[in-house]
Structure formats: structure tokens, C-alpha cells
Symmetry: C2
DNA sequence: CTGTTAAGTTTACAACGCTAAGCTATCAGC
DNA sequence: GCTGATAGCTTAGCGTTGTAAACTTAACAG
């Protein structure tokens, strides 16, 4: 009688030829789950991910260059939703300024709801590859969609004339500021909850831009 | 002839009785230097600090509960300057709104100049003890001084009536947003350099507050 | 049946944070 | 000047981490 396999490594059956990439997906799924459960990138160790998948640690490196790449891809995947959620929040709203407000609310809500991913992409320095900007931020249309939303406000004559790119940067800075400070200083005596806070501050900011 | 001491640990002479706490200062100094040089908290390992001081790693724990406490105290010390620098930036300026602008500029300049400390205190989740807020943010008057600067604008009739605390939070969020995004996404095609950026965005924001 | 190669595993290294226990120079008291 | 106590360290080591090099084995083409 063979000793019952301890909780150790090789529980997963080896993939068929050509189906190697399946492991990659399983690794991503396990890492995503672990990150969501623990809320801490340090808890998502290569060994923990390997254990969760049922494989040995070095196998991870057959599909990801290093831990940074793995974590980054997990967060990148989650952030594909952000653009969609902001678009959805804006959809069906006639007033372009109100649309912008809803975008802002959606952004903050998303950041708080995906706290660790947000931290990785916008707050850490580590756990982010060097080509992060080309890979995610710019190539994806997320930021450009914000610029377009600002342009709609300008076209509608709702804003005084100005550079849509600069205005968009200002709005991004503002909602990012709210999100990251709420994450970093949750016990600060905030004068209001997240939703009300973003409404008030975005309103204050937009008032300076109105025609 | 005794073998020349390898590069290893005990180069420092033991302190006299009663002068134990001197090591504490040397540790803080070495950790501060390492953090400034490497710009990375992971490079400031207990072993690296000990080596720099000329002492063995466990000695660190005679003066600091853990690495988090050490790093935090380094950053805390650096941040004692922030309040002073903002006050200095505002000093001698008659227009309270212009004073606020200068505060903002000083904040961003400080954050960029002390990047890793800024990251530790306002961007990370780890490397910060649980009582961080009581220990630094509120007890120090830094935030209150901002509220007072806002109050001066209100008193001067420069701002439309409003809650100074909310306005201060808005300004903090804005300058923090600028600082942390510049740190997190340095290769983003920012429409202007830090100085000009903070001027423009703070102006946009303040315009919404003016009377 | 055989050779090739994809898909893993075994083993191990160097560095990390941290702990428990031991050593030793310094000093107060005799 | 000697002695015991203790402040100020060190030695040794545990468990964990990311990762590299080398080995093994299952799956398929011919």
C-alpha cells in the first residue's frame, strides 16, 4: 500500500501534447483566486500558486518569466473590466457632465472593489514590469475614452474651452487620489463615504471647468 | 597574524554602558541612507542595514520590533519635514489662495523628492504598522495646517462658503493624486512637468471654489 | 518499437525576516 | 584589585521566499 500522497505537489495529471498552455490558464486562475482571497500579493507566492494548481513551483516558470509577470497579468486581466464598467456607467446618460460624474464613481468603486489589483497597477513600484505603460495604460483605450468623454462635454458647450487632455488628466488624478487615499488611509476621518466623497469632490472640481 | 576580517559582520566597537541607544540612531541613519540610495524598501533588508552599521542582524531587533517599524520610523522622520516645507512655501505670501497653491507645489515636490518614503506612507499597504494614522497623520498637525490654510481663504472671502474640512480633503486628494500617479506612471505622456502640472490642475480645482 | 520532444519534476542555492540562547566587556560595590 | 551582575551584543539556526540547472517521463510521429 503506497503511502497516501501527502499534501505535496504533483496532484495534477500531465497535459496532453499541445495542451501545455492549459496549465497557464490554470495558474492564472489560481493566482487570481489567491489574490482575491488573501488580498495580498505576498501571500500569492509561487509555491502557494503551484500548490493550488497541483503542480511543482518550477512549473510556473514554464509559462511566466517571473512572479512579477504573473501578478501583473492577473491584475491586467481584472483591469480589462474597468473600461467596460465605466462605459456602462455612462451609457444612457444624456448630460455629458453627468456621464463624467458616473465614470468617476465607477472608477472609484472599481478600485475599491479590486483593491489589491489597484495597488499593484497604480500604487506599487515593484510587481510591475518596466513596459507597463505600453502594455496596458496607453494601448488599451481606457484613458482615451475618458478624453473622449471630456470632449463631449466641450462639444456640448458644457465646459469652458480648454485642452481635453489636460482636463482628463485632472479628472484621472482626482479619482485616483480618492481611490488610493481611501485604500492607503482607511481609518482617516473621511467626511463622507466613498460614493458621497467622489460626488462632492468631482462636483467641486467640475465647477471650475463649467462654462 | 590574525586573518584579515572578512567583509562580514562585527566591525563596530561595542558601545559603552548607557550608550546603547546610540546604535539605534546609527541603524536609522544607515536605513535612511540605504532607502535613499536604492529607492526600494526591499533592498533595505535587515541584513543590509546591519552590514552597513557594522553589526549583526539580530542586533537590529534590540531596537526595533520588526522591519516594518524600522522602515516606518525612517519615513516618519523624513515626513516631519513636509509640514515645515509647506509652511515655508506659504510664508510671506499675502494672498491666501496663492498660499494654497504654493503649499500644493511644495507637497508634490516633497513627494517626488522623497519617493520611496512617500510610497511607504501613502501608497503601500504593507510596511506600515496598524496604528499608522494615530501615530503620524492626525497627531501631527500637518493635515490640520492645511485645513487652517483653507479657513484663511474662506475668512478672506476668496472662496464661496463651504466646509473647510471637505475642501482640504479635496485639495489633499488632488495633490496626492498628482504625486502618486507621477511616481507610479512616470512614462505616461503627461501634458506638462510636475511643477506646471500641479499649477494647472490646482488652478482648475480652485476655480470651482472661488467666490 | 523507437527516437524526439513537450511537459513536467528533483534538487538545490542564496537571500530573506526573525528567534533563542550564549558570550563578553563594562561597571558598581566591596 | 577583585567579583558578580547586566547591558550590549554575537552565534547558530529555523522556516520561508524567488528562481536556476539538470533530470525524468509521458505522448506522439514514423
Amino acid at each position: 500500500m503506497p503511502a497516501a500522497r501527502s499534501s505535496a505537489s504533483p496532484r495534477r495529471a500531465r497535459a496532453r501534447r499541445g495542451e501545455g498552455p492549459r496549465l497557464r490558464e490554470e495558474i492564472l486562475a489560481a493566482a487570481t483566486r489567491l489574490l482575491a482571497e488573501t488580498g495580498d500579493t505576498e501571500a500569492v507566492s509561487i509555491r502557494a500558486v503551484a500548490e493550488a494548481v497541483g503542480v511543482t513551483p518550477p512549473s510556473i516558470y514554464l509559462h511566466f518569466a517571473d512572479k512579477t509577470e504573473l501578478i501583473f497579468e492577473v491584475c491586467e486581466e481584472q483591469f480589462r473590466q474597468l473600461d467596460a464598467e465605466m462605459a456602462a456607467a455612462e451609457a444612457g446618460v444624456d448630460d455629458p457632465v453627468e456621464g463624467l460624474r458616473r465614470r468617476g464613481r465607477a472608477y472609484v468603486r472599481f478600485g475599491l472593489g479590486n483593491a489589491e489589483a489597484y495597488r499593484v497597477l497604480f500604487m506599487h513600484k515593484d510587481h510591475v514590469p518596466d513596459d507597463v505603460d505600453e502594455r496596458y495604460l496607453y494601448r488599451s483605450g481606457t484613458f482615451n475614452h475618458l478624453v473622449e468623454a471630456v470632449q463631449r462635454c466641450l462639444d456640448a458647450g458644457a465646459f469652458r474651452p480648454g485642452d481635453p487632455l489636460q482636463i482628463a488628466v485632472g479628472l484621472w488624478v482626482l479619482v485616483h487620489g480618492i481611490t488610493s487615499l481611501l485604500l492607503a488611509a482607511p481609518t482617516f476621518p473621511w467626511p463622507a463615504g466613498p460614493e458621497e466623497l467622489v460626488d462632492r469632490l468631482v462636483d467641486d472640481h467640475l465647477r471650475g471647468l463649467l462654462a
